[in-house]
Amino acid sequence: MTQDPFGGMFQDPFQGTARGEAIRVAAERDRKPMRGRIPGEIGIWIFLFGDMIAFGLIFITFVSARMDDPVMFEQSRQTLHLTFGAINTLLLLCGSLFVVRGIRAMRTGSPNAWKIFALCWLTGLWFVVNKFIEYAMVIDDGHNIGTNLFYGYYFIFTAAHLLHLVLAMIGMAVVVRIAKRPVHTAKDLRWAEVFGAYWHLVDLLWVVLFPLIYLMRV
């Protein structure tokens, strides 16, 4: 590899050290060329696009149902707790930021990469806790999945997203474990990218779901 694909953005803190040499040897052993490389592997992108199609159908469903009964949808929307939704959006965006920084740290061989991924995992945990509190509050207000179509869709679509988030947290836990290894190979980096890409998907889905359900007025 003669060209720096990042154009000098990243300074290698281990340049010239024994540790840096060990990292370089391990990385070169099974690294594929960076140029034209798909982050992670092709399979995860098949999964992401398929999931996006499924959630696209979910979004279309919600909009179409709202067009059928805009008054009921607006009345029900106003009973939701927007603060939780807004905090959750912030949490997932921070989580995505941590994923990016974590992968960057892994690429430069930083020993702190696992801490950044752990922070990402914690944002996910906070999201889950928030979600349960929010569900409890909505149910306490007297609305559940069978109350009307809005609440039915609200519960089931946000629950579907929550399930995706829980899977992303499991993936992030795996990445934390990988990142804790003293030397990262190209395969380790690929696993981080796979689960990082999945985390970004979960974030993307919430960024669309939140305005759609919580914010959009008729």
Binding site: I42, I46, F47, G50, D51, A65, I156, L167
Partner: protein
């Protein structure tokens, strides 16, 4: 039994095949040795698309269950009249449909056989696939029986259940209610009991993605696709909660997306299994102990 019982036959024996040797390159004696298992795997792979064809004949053409002719919100009387309108044709369609669900077992076995090659003496992912597949098949075959019960009672007469019920009377409504209950029961099973199918898909995905050898059984993208389909089946749960909309049993999410992705998964793996068999990966085992 000892470890020795699982050791491979000697390298010179007929059964020991080089993995990349296509069937066409084998000697006749080698072909004979491989033939029974190879035919079995090809038949099983064939029943993937075969299952879809049988389902098309039964559910789409003959019975009218797919797309659902009677929506979740239909009244008991409507459901009864629908069953009575084309009763015999519906029952014949149900036979085809139940056959389609039963041959799912054949199809599932070929993928399990392929993943078995990589697993050694205690093929846990294969076992999970087979048990989930068997469970899924059992429940879906019962679904066929549930709809057949509805059809039977809707079209049948006996001295205890005379046909001369006055429409609109209490007895007629009770009769229609019984038929509707079994109609609903079938739908609850078809979409709502996605769990064995999801675990089946996830076990297959694990067998593919956790494989660290240079020659995995199936390509890695197939493992991710299997996770996608497994997770997609979960949308079928909407069938238990919703009477209308995209999550009801006629809905784009609970019915169509689930079926489309299941069909895609079946076709993809039937094709991959077929290719594996043609390449000669019939019963060569990479790990035996």
């Amino acid at each position: 039994m000892t470890v020795k019982d699982f050791e491979p036959s000697s390298p010179t024996s007929i059964e020991h095949m080089a993995p990349s040797q296509s069937y066409k390159d084998l000697t006749p004696a080698q072909r004979d040795a491989q033939s029974m298992n190879r035919i079995g795997q090809l038949v099983c792979a064939f029943w993937g698309p075969g299952m879809i064809v049988l389902f098309g004949i039964g559910a789409i053409w003959l019975s009218g269950y797919w797309p659902p002719a009677k929506l979740p919100g239909a009244s008991a009387t409507e459901v009864l009249e629908w069953y009575q309108a084309h009763n015999t044709r519906l029952k014949i369609g149900l036979v085809f449909m139940t056959c389609a669900y039963a041959v799912m077992c054949w199809y599932g076995v070929v993928m399990a056989c392929q993943t078995r090659r990589k697993e050694g003496a205690f093929p846990v992912w294969t076992y999970v696939q087979l048990t989930c597949m068997a469970c899924g098949t059992a429940q879906i075959v019962i679904m066929g029986a549930a709809w057949a019960t509805a059809a039977f009672r809707a079209g049948g007469c006996s001295d205890k259940n005379p046909c001369n019920l006055v429409p609109g009377s209490q007895e007629y409504l009770a009769y229609a209610h019984d038929v509707q209950m079994f109609h609903d029961f079938g739908w609850m099973i078809l979409l709502g009991t996605w769990m064995p199918f999801t675990f089946w898909n996830l076990a297959l995905a694990a067998a593919i993605l956790l494989d660290k050898t240079p020659h995995p059984v199936f390509p890695r993208w197939a493992g991710y696709f299997s996770i996608l389909s497994g997770v997609s089946y979960m949308l079928g749960s909407g069938d238990w909660f919703f009477f209308e909309g995209a999550m009801g049993w006629n809905g784009i999410l609970a019915l169509y997306w689930v079926f489309i992705i299941f069909g895609g998964w079946v076709m993809a793996f039937a094709w991959l299994s077929y290719k594996n068999v043609q390449k000669g990966y019939v019963h060569t085992q990479d790990i035996l102990t």
